[in-house]
Symmetry: C2
Subunit: 302 residues, 2 copies
C-alpha cells in the first residue's frame, strides 16, 4: 500500500485535536480552563505532535491504537504542543513581544488580561508534564520518566527558556551567524528536536538510528527557524495568522537580516537535504512521514 502523506497527516491531526480537546480541561476554576483551551485549540499547525507520531512510527512500525506505544506518542505529542502553546502565550505578553495577533485571533492577554495569560501559560506547562505520567500504567514507567526528562530538558533553561533569554538579550545587538544559530538551537530547535526524541522514546532505536534521528531533528529545527525568518519578511499578516514584519520592526537579528533573502533560502534548502540524508543514514525501514514533514517545514507559506 503506497503512503499518502495527506491522509496520514489528516488522521494523526484528528487524533491529536481530539485528545487536546479532551485533556485541556474546560472545567478548571475561575475561567482558567477557558483561557487554556483558547490558547491551545483551533488553529495550530501541530507540527510538533506530527513529528512525534512520525518518529514513533519510524522506530516502532505501524501503530495500532491499542498499543501502548500509540498512547505514548499521542500523549507526548500533546504534551510538546502544550509547551509550545504556553510559550506563545507568555511570549506574546506586553513585557515580551507585546503581540496582539496569533493564529488569526487576539492573543490570550488581549482576550483575557495579562494575569490570566500568565496563569494559563503556567498551568499549560504543568499539564504538559501531567499528560506524560498517566496513572493507568499502560505506558511503562521507564518510558514515562524518560519522556518527562526529554520534555523538561527541551523546555527548560538549556532549551527553549534559555533560547528566549538569549533572544531577549539580543534585541538591537548584532549577532554573528554562530550566535544566531545558538539562540535558535535553543529557542525553537530544542522543542522540535525534543519532539523527535520523544517519538524515538516510544521504541528502542539502535545507536545509529538514534543519532541519525538527532541529526534530523536538529536540521529540521534550524530549517524551521530560517523559514520563519523568511516568512516574516515575505508573507503578510493574514497568511501568517500573526503580525508580519515584526522582527525588523523590533530590530531583531534574523537569518534574513544576516544572510539576505537568497542566502537564507539556500540555507533552508541545504538543511532540508541534511535532514533527508540523516533519514537514509538511520537505516529505518519507513521514514516517509518524516521526509514529508521536512519538506513541509521548508516549503510552508505560513
Amino acid at each position: 500500500m503506497s503512503f499518502v502523506f495527506s491522509a496520514w497527516m489528516a488522521d494523526r491531526l484528528a487524533r491529536t485535536e481530539a485528545a487536546l480537546s479532551l485533556w485541556v480541561p474546560e472545567q478548571a476554576p475561575a475561567g482558567l480552563g477557558v483561557s487554556m483551551r483558547y490558547a491551545v485549540l483551533d488553529g495550530g499547525k501541530r507540527l510538533r505532535p506530527l513529528l512525534v507520531w512520525a518518529t514513533a512510527e519510524a522506530v516502532c512500525g505501524p501503530l495500532a491504537p491499542e498499543r501502548w506505544e500509540s498512547e505514548a506518542a499521542l500523549r507526548a505529542g500533546c504534551s510538546v504542543e502544550l509547551i509550545h502553546a504556553y510559550s506563545l502565550v507568555h511570549d506574546d505578553m506586553p513585557c515580551m513581544d507585546n503581540d496582539v495577533l496569533r493564529r488569526g485571533k487576539p492573543t490570550v492577554h488581549v482576550q483575557f488580561g495579562q494575569a490570566q495569560a500568565l496563569l494559563a501559560g503556567d498551568a499549560l506547562q504543568a499539564l504538559a508534564f501531567e499528560l506524560l505520567v498517566p496513572e493507568d500504567r499502560q505506558i511503562p514507567e521507564s518510558v514515562q520518566a524518560r519522556m518527562c526528562r526529554l520534555l523538561a530538558q527541551s523546555a527548560g533553561h538549556l532549551g527553549m527558556a534559555g533560547g528566549q533569554a538569549i533572544d531577549l538579550a539580543s534585541v538591537g545587538r548584532a549577532l554573528d551567524e554562530s550566535q544566531l544559530r545558538e539562540m535558535h538551537r535553543r529557542k525553537t530547535g530544542a522543542l522540535l528536536l525534543g519532539s523527535v526524541l520523544m517519538g524515538a522514546a516510544c521504541g528502542t532505536p539502535d545507536t545509529r538510528a538514534q543519532e541519525a534521528l538527532c541529526t534530523y531533528g536538529q536540521a529540521l529545527g534550524l530549517a524551521f527557524q530560517v523559514v520563519d525568518d523568511i516568512l516574516d519578511v515575505t508573507a503578510d499578516s493574514a497568511t501568517l495568522g500573526k503580525t508580519a514584519g515584526k522582527d525588523q520592526a523590533q530590530d531583531k537579528p534574523t537569518y534574513v537580516s544576516l544572510l539576505g533573502l537568497a542566502q537564507a533560502r539556500a540555507l533552508a534548502t541545504q538543511l532540508r537535504s541534511q535532514a533527508m540524508e540523516a533519514l537514509i543514514d538511520s537505516q529505518l525501514p519507513d521514514t516517509q512521514a518524516l521526509q514529508a514533514l521536512a519538506c513541509m517545514v521548508v516549503d510552508r507559506t505560513h
Copy 2:
C-alpha cells in the same frame, strides 16, 4: 536517642540549600541562571522541602544519605521548592500582585525586569520536573513517574494555578468561608499537601497511614494560609520580608476579614490539633518531625 527538632531541621536545611545551589544553574544563557538563582537561593523558609523530608522519614525510617529514598526526598523537596519559588516570581509581577519586596529583597522583576522574571519562572517550573527524573536510575522509575504526577497535579490547573485563578477572580468580591477555603486548598494547600504526598511516595505507607498523611497535609496547608492571613495584619514588612497589609490594601478576602482576628487564631489552633490527631491515626512509629513542623507553621512569626 531523643529527637532534637532544631538539629534535625538544621541538617535537612543544609542539605536542601546545598542541593538547590548545585542544581539551579549559574551558567544558564544570557543571565537566566542569575535570575533563577536570585529567585531561589537565600532566604526561603524551605517549609516544603522540610515536609518532604519529615514525611519520607516517617514512612521509611531513618534515611542514610546513600539510600535512594534519601536522594528521592532531596530531589522532591528541591522540586516543590522550585515550584513555590516560580509561583512567587510570577505572583509578584505587576500584572498580578505587583509587589516589590520578597524575602527582604527587591522582587525578581524589580531586579531584572519583567521579561526576565517571566522566563525565570518558566524555567524554574521546567527545572522542577527535571530534578525528579535524573538519568542515573538510582531512584526507581516508578517512583520518578509518581513524583512527576504528584507535582504536576499540585502545581497545575486543579492545584496551585487553579487557586491563583480563583484568587484573581475574587479581588473585591465577597467570598464565604467555603469559597475562601476552596481557593486556599488549591492556591497554597495543594503544594503543601503535594510535599507530604511526595514524601510518602519515597516509601510504601499502608492505606491507613496514607490517608492520615493526606489529612495531616490538608490541615497543615489550610493552617498555613490562616496564619499567613493573620500575619498580614499583625506583623510588619521587615519581619515578614514581604509587604505587610497588602491583602487589605488590595481588598482581598482573608480569614481575618471573614472571621476576625480572634476566630482566625482559634481556627489555626484547631487545624494544628487536626494535623496532630492525624499523625496519631497514621500509626507511623516516628512522626516527631511532622509534629514539630505543624507547630512551626502555626506558631511562626513570619
